[in-house]
Every structure is written in C-alpha cells, then in structure tokens.
C-alpha cells in the first residue's frame, strides 16, 4: 500500500511539473515570476497526511479570519463576525494555482491585514529538492474579498532554502516579510567545491533575510540580510516595537553550535557583529529543534519572550523578560508544565497570555498562563484537550482582548483568554 502511495506522489509531482510548463508566461505580472528563472522549478508532491497548521487574524473591522489548507491541499479562509468557532463560515477556497503549501508544524499559511484595505496571505511552497522552498504571497486591495494570484516574494530564485516565512505591517503601513534563507551557506559550499579553495569553509546554519513593500505587496525592495547564522528549521517571531517598527526573534546558532535565540530590530543596518543574544540556555546541538520562539511587547518596556531549549540538561519551554535592546532582564522561568511545547505569547496592556500544548501519553492538553499585571504573576488555565491529532495552539489579539485558537483536528476551538 505504501508503495502505491509513493507511486501516486511521484505521479502528482510529474503532473505538477507538466502543468507548470503549460502555464502561459504572461497570465499575470506576478504569476510570471516562475518564468524568470532559468528552469521551471519542480514543486514538492502533496504530503501524505492532513496538514493541520492554521493561522488567524482579526481584520480592521474586527472580523476573525482563519487561514489553512484543506485535505486536497487547497488554501482556504474562514471568517466570523465574532470570535467564536461556531460563527466561522464555510471555507472559501483561494486559488493558488498548483502551489503546494506547507501547513504543518512551524510552517503555516498566514493572513495579515494592513492599512488601506490591504491584506496578504503568505506561505512557504516546498520544492521537490529537499530543504528548498519559496516564500509565496497573495495580496488583496479590498480587505480580503479578492486575492491576487500567488507570487514569489524574494528576488533570489535559486532552488535553495527560502522557508519559514513571517510577515507583518509596521505602524506606517510598510509590509515586512522575513524568511530563513541559505544563499550564503550555498555560496560558501560552492566556493568549497571550487578546487582553488585552499581552506576549510563552513557556514553555521542559515540566515534571516527580509524585504519591504510600501504598497501592500504590489512591489518589493531588495532582499536584505538581517542576520547570519540562524537555525534552519524554526519559525521567526515578530512583535511591534515602541517606535512603530518591528522586532524579530529567532533561534540562532551562536558559536560554536549553541542554539539559543537572537533578537534584532527589523530594518536595522546589518553589521558583522553578532545580533543581540536574548537567551542563554547554551544548548549545544547539531540538530533541528523545529521549535521557534514567541515574542510580545511588555507594557513597561522591553518584551515578553517564550522559547524551548535545553539548559543544563533539562529540556523545557521557558518564559523570560527582555529589555528594550532584547537582552535578558532577570532569570527566565520554566512554564508550569514539564511537557509544554510550542508556546506562544501575546500581550495587550497589562494582559499577558502564554499558551502551549502538552501531551501526557493519552491526550494533548491546551493550557494557558494568564497574567493581568504585566507578567508579575500568572494563573494557569486548562483550556482544552483532545485525544487525536492537533495543531499548536495560537494566540491573537484585538484591542485589549487576547484570544487563543486551536485546531484540535476535527474542530477548531476559540477561547477569549484575557480582556
């Protein structure tokens, strides 16, 4: 049976490649970017299992939007006038052509609303060659009523890693898109392959690249590097800074192989210096944690951060405060659940919510840690549990309210966790 399935995947991949070649080059100005490369890229075949990873956001009019991928691999959005799972309308399929969409674990489609009725959906499209991908985007100028065809966000079109996208609008309406990119590592590898290379060349991890769009995703500035030596397989967290800009936090590979976390203001000039180190677990690891951080602004300055790591031999999800520069403020604490994983954090004024999932061998539990005093004290809340497959719980805010949303397999659960 498995062989039959494998054959089906090959067949799909072949069909996808054939369809790629049949698409008219000038169907859409943004659609045509596939043809800018020297060769047509083979997209990855559809995953064998259902992809559960969803995202959600509130539009400026307060409606809840959920974006995900259905069993046929099609991108969909669902909307609700109130933050209630029962109020979610039926899935509306958004045309993404033949794109394959990563929607599992740390890689998920996202919907982001900006000013002037702008909205974008971003996702990573895995390509057939292992570890490669492209960051794709669809844009809307009417608040999500209509979306463009998907297009590739970055200028670099090598068939290499461009994955784990993260995007947000800043206070001025500039759209920032960030992703993990291996062009620098690939360039060094190529140099190493050159027989003229006389010294050992290596590159730790990947890099964080980004670009900016000042017209809601219609046009983009150049690909810019935010930092060298990120981890290769973990999501990037974004949070607003007090000046109206954005701050990014990601798992970094500090010398020689410590997979802690770094933080940087998005848009700061790249220097050769190591970015600010936000965590000091000193987890020496040559492996893929697939476990990115969460970040939210703190009421009294600085940031709330959550992350997973191994410190002095103990693996745990931890919470810590960072100062305005992103440096640790005080000692981090472990979340009150030894099996907590994939934690997220949101803040709104004095309200802070940290949420995670935890598996006890029988059921997965969705738990939250809720603070109404800017993180001075927290109360644990058991939010839900399920016995089957499930996604990571996610958090989102609307004004002073913080909501949690969990794709628990057969149903979506939405809870208001702070107001």
């Amino acid at each position: 049976m498995m062989m039959t399935h494998g054959f089906q995947q090959w067949w799909r991949a072949g069909l996808a490649s054939a369809l790629l070649m049949l698409i008219p080059a000038a169907t859409h100005a943004q659609m045509s970017d596939h043809q800018h490369g020297k060769s047509v890229k083979e997209v990855k075949s559809r995953p064998a299992r259902p992809q559960l990873a969803i995202s959600a956001a509130f539009s400026p009019d307060g409606r809840l939007w959920v974006v995900g991928v259905n069993g046929d691999g099609k991108l969909y959005v669902r909307t609700a006038g109130t933050a209630n799972a029962d109020a979610l309308g039926p899935p509306r399929i958004i045309d993404t052509g033949i794109d394959m969409i990563a929607a599992e674990g740390e890689s998920r489609p996202k919907i982001i609303f900006g000013p002037r009725h702008w909205a974008v959906i971003t996702y990573t499209q895995p390509l057939a060659k292992p570890y490669t991908g492209e960051i794709r985007m669809l844009r809307s100028e009417d608040g999500g009523v209509n979306f463009s065809a998907p297009f590739t966000v970055h200028q670099d079109r090598q068939i290499i890693t461009h994955r784990f996208d993260s995007a947000a609008f800043d206070a001025e309406g500039t759209l920032h898109t960030l992703w993990i990119d291996k062009r620098d590592g690939e360039a060094l590898k190529a140099a190493k392959a050159d027989k003229g290379a006389k010294r050992e060349l290596s590159y730790r991890g990947a890099a964080i690249y980004r670009n900016e769009s000042k017209d809601g995703g219609k046009t983009f500035g150049p690909d810019l590097k935010l930092a060298d030596h990120s981890c290769e397989c973990c999501r990037i967290a974004l949070a607003p800074d007090p000046a109206g800009g954005l701050v990014a936090m990601w798992r970094h590979v500090f010398e020689p192989n410590e997979r802690d976390h770094a933080i940087a203001k998005v848009g700061q000039a790249i220097t050769s210096q190591t970015p600010t180190r936000a965590t000091y677990d000193r987890w020496a690891l040559d492996a893929c944690p697939h476990h990115g951080p969460g970040l939210a602004p703190a009421k009294n300055g600085g940031y709330h951060a959550v992350w997973f790591g191994e410190k002095t031999g103990k693996a745990a999800a931890r919470y810590g405060l960072l100062d305005a520069k992103g440096q640790p403020k005080g000692s981090p604490v472990e979340l009150p659940d030894a099996r907590a994983e994939h934690a997220d954090v949101r803040s709104a004024g004095s309200n802070v919510v940290i949420s995670w999932r935890s598996f006890d061998g029988e059921r997965t539990h969705w738990r939250a840690w809720v603070s109404r005093d800017a993180g001075a004290t927290f109360v644990v809340k058991n939010v839900g549990s399920v016995s089957g497959v499930n996604d990571y719980p996610i958090l989102l805010s609307r004004g002073s309210e913080i909501f949690g949303l969990w794709n628990a397999g057969e149903r979506i659960q939405i809870e208001r966790l702070a107001d």
Partner: protein, 158 residues
Amino acid sequence: MNALLTKAGAAVLCCCLAMAAGAAPPKTIEPFDGKTWKTLSADVKKPTIVVFSATYCTHCPAVIQKIAKDKAELGGKVSLIGVVMDEEPPGLLAKPPYNRVDRVFVFEGHEQAVRYTINPEWRGITPYVAFMAPGKPVKFFTGAPPARELGQFLALAR
C-alpha cells in the same frame, strides 16, 4: 564524455561496494505507528541503530550516512533503520541516505502519540538516534551520537 564515463564508473563502483557490504536498499516503506516501537525493541536480534528524521531536518542525512558508512564495514552484523516522522518524501527509497539503510519507516497517525511510545522525553528534535542491542537497555541521543559512543556500540558487533 570522459566526465560522463567517470561518473558512470563511480556509480557502478558505489553499487558494487554497497552490494559487497550487504547493503541492499530497502524495497518498501513500512508504516511506523503506536505499536511499531514496542515490536522493534522486543525483537532485537543484533545491534540495531534507529535514526528518526524529518523532511525539514538538514542535519539528518549526514548522520545516517556516517552510521551507514561505519556499519558497511561490519557487513550485516549491524542493522540500520531510518524513520521519517513528518511525511513521506517522493522517491524516498531511491535517494541517499535512505537507500543505504536496511529498513525505512514513515510515521503513521498521531505524531505526538507515536513519539511518546518511543521515549516520552523525546520532544521531536531530529535526528534522534536509538542504539538497541539484545539484552541491553535502549540508549537515545539527540543529534549525532558521539563518535566514542558509536564506536563502542559498533564494537558489540565485531
């Protein structure tokens, strides 16, 4: 043309070496569900190394290749099993490093639950490596097993 012949020759040589070492590539992908680990670990007849990996794990292929290379020197005295936990990549059996292992599995069902059956302490980090030998407790490593540990384990088969 010469380059082509050289590449073809190298490929033939690799195949011959692999066959000489008893490393016939697996022919099927087996499902790895909540019961598989119990069965595997209860049925260890010779030193066996299991490498759990994922399609996004850039560190995994090198670890499997290294173990496969060391194991090849021991003929069929050690078994190497590759387990992919997130999805089944196209052409899995035909591509390195999975064409160099003895058995290939892909997770089936509830990933968290399957992982838990292997080791409740495993948080999904890959590569995750298990050393199994008859009459000995299973030893787990996150990332590549240290060279000394690997050497000691392989020595069991010498």
